[in-house]
């Protein structure tokens, strides 16, 4: 697990077809299941989300913070499948708890980025030239600063913590949502059925909410999944750097950071938190890819 993973923001799915195919949810799920990426992504993301939900409701095998002085740095055994750390805490319980915290932060971050980015993108695409120019120049400025740097600045300004991590990560992802949404909205605004709606006397609000937004929802779904992957990684990186939620909140990034010096003698302290991060990131990325394939009729295999 390296910090550089946080650096470049993931690429935008620019060539997703503008118009979602009206095949209904069942058709979409089936198409998702039929693409290899989608199937693996769905399973991995499902496992991660299930684990996080279980942990959030206290369903971990042990109390994650319980320090068993009689079981320091134990190998993986049947009673501690992921082993124990230098304080005698059960690593499986810590990993599950950490996943829960990670996903909570990631979801909040994606919600912040998604809502603000989508609104800004829709406004930039649908409203006049000046509004659009202002929004896009601000977006460009945010793009010019690497997302991790932006997140570091926000955390440095607001201080470390659960909510501040989410804000920091969310702000870093806003410009991607703006760009991803604005393009299709711009294209749809001039599309045949939006023109037809204008001729039929539909209000701008109706055109925007009934005809344009629903037709970019597929793109939003893809982007949300990719954003979740990036946010989990970003959260891990922030806490690796010691800028995540302070202890005793469990954190995968912090576990990886702490395990660095122990890894030579106790590999399990490093391996399991790292694998958890990797599974979550790959799961959401593949899910995003699968969704994109499922939505875009040109890449869909029949």
């Amino acid at each position: 697990m390296s910090v550089t993973g946080l650096g470049p923001a993931p690429s935008m799915p620019g060539d997703v077809d503008l118009v979602a195919q009206p095949e209904g949810r069942q058709g979409l799920l089936r198409a998702l299941w039929h693409s290899a990426n989608g199937r693996v992504g769905l399973v991995l993301a499902g496992v991660v989300v299930a684990a996080a939900i279980v942990a959030s409701f206290g369903g971990t095998p042990y109390d994650p913070q319980f320090q068993n002085a009689a079981a320091l740095l134990q190998h993986p055994t049947w009673s501690h499948p992921f082993g124990t750390d230098q304080f005698g805490r059960d690593i499986l319980s810590l990993v599950l708890d950490g996943l829960g915290v990670s996903l909570e932060i990631a979801c909040l971050a994606v919600a912040i980025a998604g809502v603000i980015g989508t609104i800004a993108g829709v406004v930039a695409g649908f409203l006049g030239r000046w509004t659009s120019a202002v929004i896009m120049r601000v977006t460009d400025m945010m793009f010019a600063i690497p997302a991790i740097l932006l997140a570091l600045i926000v955390v440095a300004a607001l201080g470390a913590g659960w909510l501040n991590s989410a804000i920091a990560i969310g702000v870093g992802y806003i410009p991607i949502f703006v760009r991803v949404v604005r393009g299709p909205v711009l294209a749809l605004r001039e599309s045949g059925y939006v023109s037809a709606g204008r001729v039929l006397g539909f209000s701008r609000r109706r055109l925007l909410f009934r005809h344009i937004l629903p037709n970019v929802s597929g793109i939003l779904a893809v982007q949300t999944s990719l954003a979740l992957a990036w946010s989990v990684l970003a959260e891990a990186s922030l806490s690796f750097l010691g800028l995540g939620p302070p202890p005793p909140t469990a954190s995968l990034g912090e576990m990886v950071s702490q395990a660095g010096s122990l890894a030579a003698t106790a590999w399990w302290t490093l391996a399991f938190p790292s694998v958890a991060i990797i599974v979550a990131v790959i799961g959401f990325n593949l899910l995003g890819d699968g969704l994109r394939d499922a939505i875009d009729p040109r890449t869909r295999k029949r």
Partner: protein, 328 residues
């Protein structure tokens, strides 16, 4: 006869960052008599679709005015304009929202304009509208991609009729359709015109299509009307060399008819903005077999040569003024 639609000196300039911009319309005056059909013919880039967009209010003219049933359309609110004038687009698949069934698309229009109540009342009105375009009620639940091109275009027509308009602008309504269903849609439009006493502006690049519907034909070239008249006059006794070229391109479905004299058009249909053909003289001059010195000097005005038959051509005007020179 009352006028359904009239434009006076309509101009549309699309500015460009550099250069003079594109003058899509350069002073177009057309008249549509109530209950009749005005055919607008011209090749790609002549401004006919721009004219359609201006008529329905999708864009504003740079100059000139549009009157709809004796009212300036700039004084009409968008919803009022929508109630009296509707547009049928070329491609039904792009003009219908892919996520809406035929019934939802038509129902939305009824809802927006507070027509036909709600619930059962609205449903029966939707069925009635589908019936008007000869679609069975079972098509109400179909999505655009489940419909054939002809069926989708009928849904688009039914949606336009939902507001009970008095006039329709038909922008190449059959060009995107299979040849086999074009006649069906044309016949449908003719029948609807009779039943609902609609006025049509029928835009096409194809004289052969327009001849079936139009009472009056205006031929457009590079943003100008170059010939205008009753369809017999324009098609049978074309005065403008461009109209003659168009007429000669209409295929004759009769193998014994023999080879007609074909008129080949040379050169580009749409010259670069700011080139001589657009700025001075007759716009058709670079491609015209009859071009003379005068054609480069001044732009010919649209003048009445015979009653109701107008042409913008120096040569045609001079020939017509010499009684001995009988036109073919």
């Amino acid at each position: 006869m009352a006028l359904a639609l009239r434009t006076v000196g309509l101009e549309k300039l699309y500015p460009m960052r550099r250069g003079p911009g594109v003058r899509a319309l350069r002073g177009v005056s057309v008249e549509l008599e109530s209950g009749s059909t005005l055919g607008i013919v011209g090749e790609s880039g002549c401004g006919k679709s721009t004219l359609a967009r201006l008529l329905v209010g999708l864009e504003r003219p740079s100059a000139g005015s549009i009157e709809l049933f004796d009212e300036e359309i700039v004084s009409l609110r968008r919803r009022e304009l929508a109630r009296s004038l509707q547009l049928v687009f070329q491609d039904p698949y792009s003009s219908l929202d892919p996520r809406l069934t035929a019934a939802t698309a038509i129902g939305e229009v009824l809802a927006v304009h507070d027509l036909a109540g709600r619930g059962h009342e609205r449903e029966s009105r939707i069925d009635e509208l589908l019936g008007m375009v000869a679609l069975a009620p079972r098509f109400a639940g179909f999505y655009p991609h489940e419909l054939s091109g002809g069926q989708a275009q009928r849904v688009a027509i039914a949606r336009a009729l939902a507001v009970e308009p008095r006039a329709l602008v038909l922008d190449e309504p059959t060009s995107a359709l299979d040849v086999s269903v074009r006649a069906e849609v044309i016949n449908l439009l003719v029948r609807l015109q009779d039943e609902l006493s609609l006025s049509y502006v029928f835009i096409s690049h194809d004289l052969a299509t327009v001849r079936h519907v139009a009472d009056v034909i205006d031929v457009m070239y590079l943003g100008l009307v170059v010939e205008s008249g009753q369809y017999d006059d324009v098609l049978g006794a074309a005065l403008h060399p461009y109209t003659r070229a168009l007429a000669a391109a209409v295929p004759v479905p009769d193998p014994t008819h023999g080879a007609r004299r074909r008129v080949q058009l040379a050169g580009e249909a749409v010259p670069a903005p700011g080139s001589a053909a657009v700025t001075s003289g007759c716009p058709y001059r670079p491609r015209c077999p009859l071009a003379e010195a005068e054609c480069a000097l001044s732009r010919p005005e649209l003048v009445e040569i015979r009653p109701g038959h107008r042409v913008a051509c120096h040569v045609a005007k001079r020939d017509a003024s010499v009684p001995a020179a009988e036109q073919a």
